[in-house]
Symmetry: C2
Subunit: 203 residues, 2 copies
């Protein structure tokens, strides 16, 4: 657990309740946590889901791994400790977005099960949907969209997930997407269909 | 400047543009940065503004100092370095909210001019509105809603803004609220009138 440093702080209830924010939006806030290897398609699927949700009038947003690492988490690297803090911060930010009534997609490798489970625990009942974008290492390495696997194999990047750092696959993900054999649009449709069937979307 | 640690990251454009998110909401995203001494009324005014905005159908949210210190920034204390990092993270989170098209109020003492100016620089033209909730130290100490001034005077709290840590008042705030002589509702109405006059709100 991250220790609470500031002691003279008190929780303030917001004057506008989460429920009232959801009423304005026409749907609840929820976190879609996309996890998987680099190159599995997390960002692309998340953005496609977000686009579909938006076009149906839902209030949605994407917290993208690389973008967050260039902003909020620019002072974090890839050590196990920094990865944990990276995910912790994202979880907390996602929780704020969900509180604001936003359907929030996050696209982070988030390789460690314990870190993902901590985020799940932060969230309320039904507010955390773990989406495992499942692609084999072979597939990801063949795609290698940013040339990172090549660099990792050459030893130019250290602590690279799947090469010299582990990826712990989810055991109880709400959704498992088969990114080895299906295309982006098909996978995104699967996510939206799931949300629709569970009553998460705007009527 | 905070050093960028991760090197193998690339900025991803979101598939849904900020403009499209604003079209759905009926207004742009903007950050209302409330600053002032503890007890000046930042949180209360911010929450009242938020309530007024919400009741007019605007998509809004409050990032509250104490709440953030119990979540995202729980690993930060009150040293000058930690205060700077506190404000930096809030600025980055606020920027994400503004990108999502939300009228985002932040209520933090944020005592150092340099830290506030860094947040201003993060934001686009017209996206940062500094609101100085101006109450004298005497007023705040008399109110002392959390009993913190009493503790600070007794030496039980160190680095307390206004007592043994400086507050650098804004020099170019878009709005200065006179919290010594006016009540919360009047101050909140001033903020909303400003936003209306500048075309920030839903028509």
């Amino acid at each position: 657990m991250t220790e609470q440093k500031a002691t003279n702080v008190t929780w303030h209830e917001q004057r506008v309740s989460d429920k009232e924010r959801c009423e304005l939006n026409g749907h609840k806030g929820v976190m879609l946590w996309f996890t998987g290897l680099s190159g599995a398609g997390k960002s692309t699927v998340a953005n496609t889901v977000d686009h579909l949700l938006h076009s149906k009038g839902n209030h949605s947003y994407v917290l993208d791994g690389d973008n967050i690492r260039m902003g909020l988490n620019k002072n974090l690297g890839f050590s196990a400790e920094d990865r944990a803090e990276n995910i912790r911060r994202i979880g907390e930010v996602g929780k704020l977005f969900v509180g604001a009534g936003v359907i929030t997609s996050t696209a982070f490798i988030s390789p460690y099960r314990e870190d993902r489970d901590k985020v799940r625990e932060l969230m309320g009942e039904g507010e955390f949907i773990e989406v495992y974008v499942n692609a084999s290492l072979a597939t990801c390495e063949e795609r290698d969209p940013k040339g990172l696997y090549k660099k990792a194999r050459a030893g130019e990047i250290k602590n690279f997930t799947g090469i010299d750092d582990p990826y712990e696959a989810p055991e109880n993900a709400e959704l498992v997407l088969d990114s080895d054999s299906k295309g982006i649009d098909e996978l995104a449709e699967e996510v939206v269909a799931y949300l629709e069937s569970k009553g998460y979307l705007k009527a």
